[in-house]
């Protein structure tokens, strides 16, 4: 209909997005992640010097200091991976549900993964890493479907508040189930403790490696959903008018986010609010285009979880707070702020 000449159409310059601003923010977030990772390796209950860090990075763990650093490296990697997964999963969920309150924790999905794993360990003797990851993803998917179905009941379909309430109620119930399963089972209490409160302490590369393929698949599916999420953001009717197969697109994106938070929960336990806070911050930085928002949410989620882990080690010296507690302390007030903002509008 419109002819495309070799001469740029007047007004085309206005159409181009301010990509340079976003690129600068990208550099800033990558730099921040690098600094936070360095801090995470350097800071802990035991003070270490740069020589210890360098030696540990080189593979040495002869002194106590070097050994401490050696333990912090996989922990930092885990915080990056899990934080990235949760930040991205949150952004995808907020896009899929057009719900500013969506978060793997708030919607009960992480608790679904945890309950599935705890039940599997208690009743079926789950042991291998892969079986735990698959069980967690299965539990996450069940919880997601259940909460969405309950939150869609009644007038107006899945409104933000109804969905969040359904998720919170489901979370509370699932948490009680976990307690009920674990209480009489002193033999497995130590194994399942990490599925009651999320944390990254005690991570080794042996525990991290099996989860990476699942996260990688979830990452690819989520990032490829960016364009679909952009059209879903305009409402289902308009998205369909733009040639989007709405149910399919929503299902694929939801699958990506469930893979991410199920796998993340399998390796780090249930962590709340990273997926809630991060996309809101990223929207302020790079806007509402999911092609930018999704990768940014992954990077910023990694930053937030590494920072939370470092804070957890500093504030409770000589012990440490689990990172799941720190993110809850940061995230709960944020959640209230989002709810209280003039009106909870759909994204």
């Amino acid at each position: 209909m419109t002819s495309v000449d070799s001469v740029p159409t007047p007004g085309a310059a206005l159409v181009r997005r301010p990509g340079s601003v976003r690129f600068l923010w990208l550099l800033a977030v990558v730099a921040a992640l690098g600094l936070l990772m360095a801090a995470s390796v350097a800071i802990g209950s035991r003070g270490v010097g740069w020589s210890d860090i360098l030696a540990a990075l080189g593979g040495s763990s002869e002194t106590i200091e070097e050994a401490a650093v050696t333990k912090r490296i996989p922990r930092t990697v885990l915080a990056v991976v899990v934080g990235g997964a949760l930040g991205l999963a949150g952004a995808v969920m907020q896009g899929v549900t057009r719900n500013p309150l969506a978060d793997p924790g708030v919607l009960g999905i992480n608790m679904g993964a945890s309950l599935a794993v705890v039940a599997g360990i208690a009743w079926f003797g789950l042991f291998s890493a892969t079986s735990i990851i698959v069980t967690a993803i299965f539990g996450a998917a069940l919880a997601a479907v259940f909460v969405y179905a309950v939150g869609s009941l009644g007038r107006g379909g899945p409104t933000p508040l109804k969905l969040a309430l359904a998720g919170a109620a489901t979370s509370a119930a699932l948490t009680s189930f976990i307690t009920a399963i674990v209480l009489p089972r002193g033999d497995i209490a130590a194994n399942v403790q990490s599925f009651q409160v999320g944390g990254v302490g005690g991570a080794t590369f042996a525990t991290i490696t099996p989860v990476l393929p699942f996260l990688a698949v979830g990452l690819v599916i989520s990032l490829l959903s960016a364009r679909s999420l952009n059209s879903l953001a305009l409402g289902d009717e308009l998205a369909a008018g733009l040639g989007e197969r709405v149910a399919l697109a929503r299902g694929v994106a939801a699958l990506g986010s469930v893979l991410l938070c199920g796998a993340a929960t399998a390796v780090a336990g249930p962590i709340w609010f990273v997926g809630l806070v991060v996309p809101h911050l990223c929207r302020l930085l790079v806007g509402v285009d999911h092609r930018w928002l999704l990768p940014f949410s992954a990077l910023t989620g990694a930053c937030l979880l590494v920072a939370s882990d470092v804070i957890g080690r500093i504030v409770a010296r000589p012990g440490e707070l689990d990172v799941g507690i720190v993110t809850a302390l940061v995230g709960a007030p944020f959640f209230i702020a989002v709810v209280r903002r003039q009106k909870v509008r759909e994204l």
């Binding site: 159409t9 007004g11 008018g241 733009l242 040639g243 197969r245 929207r283």
Partner: protein, 275 residues
């Protein structure tokens, strides 16, 4: 300038759950013209429009675009020929005008393809046609109702479809902005040959702006044809249950409907030339 496409409904039956909304309806949309669908609340106008843009699968019958059932066509292929502007689309918080209009390019983009020069040109042309170029960097939230509706139409234009369906494009607009939007749609129809089908509430604006008027009552077509053929006192009584007088609009020659309520009327129910 554009290829003409035929859009028609054949023995179309539409339902929400158990409730039949449209039953056995046949409709041919004249190519290259403006069709307005009018009718009382809940008569199935929007439902019909939703089905023609395949948002709603028919219970029976078919919607045919160039002889092919739209519900069987690939989604993106259909979206390159037939555009839809629903009644209440959602503008994501903080989205800019250019970004929103750019989303109209969705049917032309694959998962991996990049934003192209054609995309740029289509968006620029859409902004220009709707006189929203100067708003390109503004947030959609900040705009007035009339501006916002122009931006949504720009988004539909960026989709570059030869057929455009609009569900009550003038709702929530004051009369000046209603006329502005309808003038804009008429421009599109005249300069590009875009076939336009819209649901309108205001009978008189529909009669003035449409080439083809379709009056719907209880899920059936009560009358279809030129506004002069369709907008009669009998038709208004049958479709809306309202007594009225229909006179010739002195400014356009189109029929003009004057409702006869129970008050403020000097000569109720007088027989008129168009009755």
């Amino acid at each position: 300038m554009t290829a003409t496409h035929s859009l028609a409904a054949e023995e179309l039956t539409l339902a929400y759950g158990e409730r039949l909304v449209i039953e056995g309806l046949d409709l041919v949309v004249p190519a290259g013209s403006i069709t307005a669908i009018v009718g009382a609340n809940a008569c199935g106008k929007s439902t019909l429009l939703r089905s023609m843009s395949r948002l709603l699968s028919p219970r029976a019958g078919r919607v045919l675009l160039d002889g092919k059932a739209v519900h069987r066509m690939p989604a993106k292929e259909l979206a390159r020929t037939l555009g839809l502007l629903p009644q209440s689309p959602i503008a994501p918080e903080g989205i800019t005008v250019a970004d929103l209009v750019g989303r109209g390019r969705h049917p032309y983009q694959g998962v991996f393809s990049r934003w192209s020069r054609e995309d740029d040109a289509a968006v620029a042309a859409a902004l220009e046609a709707t006189q929203t170029t100067t708003l390109a960097d503004r947030a959609v939230d900040e705009l007035s109702g009339g501006q916002r509706q122009r931006v949504w139409i720009a988004m539909a234009l960026a989709q570059q479809t030869d057929l455009l369906l609009l569900d009550e494009p003038t709702t929530f607009l004051d009369v000046a902005h209603q006329v502005e939007v309808l003038d804009l749609l008429t421009d599109l129809n005249r300069t590009r040959g875009t076939t336009i089908v819209m649901v309108l509430h205001d009978l008189n604006l529909a009669a003035r702006y449409a080439d083809h008027l379709v009056a719907l009552a209880a899920g059936q077509i009560h009358a279809a044809g030129t506004p002069a053929q369709v907008l009669t006192e009998d038709c208004v009584r049958a479709v809306f249950g309202l007594d009225s007088r229909v006179i010739e609009d002195p400014t356009s020659g189109a029929p003009l409907m004057l409702p006869l309520g129970r008050h403020h009327v000097d000569t109720p129910a007088e027989v008129s030339p168009r009755g």
